[in-house]
């Protein structure tokens, strides 16, 4: 999934990437590493990266790294 995501961003060069956590039931430091790496990838392509549908548990873990200072959260319909 990681490689697919890297490739998809690289080949489509979108203006914006939203990582939707609706179906994600578990996040740990591996997830933080993945998000931060995609943030860097997007920044190089001048593309905005946001996170959506985070649960309170997701927010607790992700927040420990301080990544919300860099990456915005949004609510999807």
């Amino acid at each position: 999934m990681k490689d697919e995501c890297i490739l998809s961003i690289q080949s489509n060069q979108p203006k914006k990437v939203i990582l939707d956590f609706r179906c994600v039931d578990f996040v740990d430091s591996t997830g933080i590493g993945f998000i931060l790496a995609r943030y860097k990838q997007c920044r190089l392509l001048q593309c905005e990266l946001t996170l959506a549908n985070l649960s309170p548990a997701h927010r607790t873990i992700l927040g420990m790294s301080g990544l919300f200072q860099l990456i915005k959260e949004e609510v999807l319909e």
Partner: protein
């Protein structure tokens, strides 16, 4: 007191087995949702460290996970490997420090384990291996 020991190959696919088994074993204590998430995360981080850092992803090696609890809801988790060991534990404990930057690691594993546990200890010797010992008091079962 109750206790269980698992031994599994150093393969990343066993990480989810480890965290799910740990929680299944603790079900008699009726942990709440938050406690379950925290224990899953602790186990995931410790097992990932053993596989990735202890053994450098060498699947011929074995990781040991030991979980015990008493009937006051005090849970003890031990994760050990016989891998390369940690040279500088203080450095490894620093938030955001990672020895594997190129693999998109966040360097948050130790911080997360520490945050979610009541007591957190690492015993490590170069080329002999690492054991992390974590204790966590479940509020839901505390008498």
């Amino acid at each position: 007191m109750n206790k269980v020991t698992f031994q599994f190959k150093s393969l990343m696919e066993n990480e989810s087995f480890a965290r799910i088994s740990a929680c299944a074993f603790l079900m008699p204590l009726n942990p709440n949702v938050e406690e379950i998430t925290e224990i899953k995360t602790i186990v995931s981080e410790a097992v990932t460290n053993a596989i990735l850092h202890g053994y450098d992803n060498d699947p011929s090696q074995m990781v040991t996970l030991e979980i015990g609890y008493d009937y006051h809801g005090c849970v003890t988790i031990l994760v050990s490997d016989e891998g390369r060991g940690i040279e500088d534990i203080d450095l490894a404990m620093e938030p955001l420090y990672t020895s594997k930057q190129e693999q998109e690691r966040s360097g948050m594993g130790m911080t997360i384990m520490q945050t979610f546990s009541d007591s957190f200890n690492i015993y490590s010797k170069k080329d002999e291996g690492t054991t992390v010992v974590i204790q966590k008091q479940l509020q839901s079962t505390q008498e």
